[in-house]
Symmetry: C2
């Protein structure tokens, strides 16, 4: 049996904990773009993406498919176009990880609020890097939205990005 | 006319942004007590507290009044006991700060979710220090709860406290 691949999330949130405005808009991130925050190195380290439907639909609006050369699974109950090799999956995170392990996946990038919460709640997220953007947007789509995890989060690194953003990296212990 | 006193908040929140559980409980902070996080130096630097009703009622359950030697104003529409020199105030933050300035206040510690939000929303909070505790409690009393502030927050310092908590200090520009 293959080892379960490592799973990581890498997200930006407003200081009040939102990934996006209620309609999905991320215009408030604009003033903070361009800051090097380690995303490229992180992205290069993953071989597989597991994303949610909203992330997928957003990515399809981009000029080019941003995940070329990587395995991509969309957690959705509806079909996906599949033009870029992506596939749909509607089961449990644990079963998906077993499938991916059998395919040789080593490091999975988990993205999208609902997908991150599903992996967190299942105890199957190993690392969480959060970039905190210094704005309060008041209302929006939350990153955590109700998930409970009262032990197991260990702060591995915290650093400023320029004079505005802060980046926190947590390791999440599997022993729960 | 006296200069408006400086205003600061110094709070601990769960990683998902809560000050307390829905009933006000802060039992989840217990495993993280004892870490030096700069509170003593901060507390020594203030001459005045402006607190909310919930914070006040909580403080009254403590064996000793923790704000001895400092001016204390409770933002509430109901009477306060006043045994420790504290007084009630039911007006606007701006008017309160003008009063406090006339009394010689120099540095005001603003505490309690509702009071912090009222000062933030009025553009009258100068500094915000947030200690992020690595737990997700799922539901609770939020720190920010709807306040919008899309510019003006400048990250002054970010540091780890031990291997578990992160502390972020923001300066808030008055130009809005």
């Amino acid at each position: 049996m293959s080892a379960r691949p490592r799973t990581s999330a890498f997200v930006g949130i407003s200081l009040d904990g939102f990934l996006a405005r209620p309609d999905g808009a991320i215009d408030w991130l604009k003033p903070f773009e361009g800051e090097e925050h380690g995303y490229t190195a992180f992205f290069d380290s993953v071989d597989t993406l597991v994303i949610g439907r909203k992330t997928y639909d957003f990515v399809l609006t981009m000029e080019a498919w941003p995940y070329a050369g990587k395995r991509c699974v969309v957690m959705t109950h509806h079909p996906v176009a599949g033009h870029n090799g992506e596939r749909a999956y509607a089961g449990l995170p644990a079963d998906l990880l077993a499938q991916l392990a059998a395919e040789g996946a080593r490091h999975v990038y988990v993205d999208g609020g609902a997908v991150i919460r599903a992996f967190l709640a299942a105890g199957l997220l190993d690392e969480l890097t959060i970039t905190i953007v210094p704005v309060l947007i008041g209302v929006g789509l939350p990153l955590f939205g109700g998930v409970e995890l009262e032990s197991g989060l260990v702060l591995e690194q915290v650093k400023p990005l320029g004079d505005r953003m802060a980046q926190l990296r947590y390791r999440i212990s599997r022993a729960r």
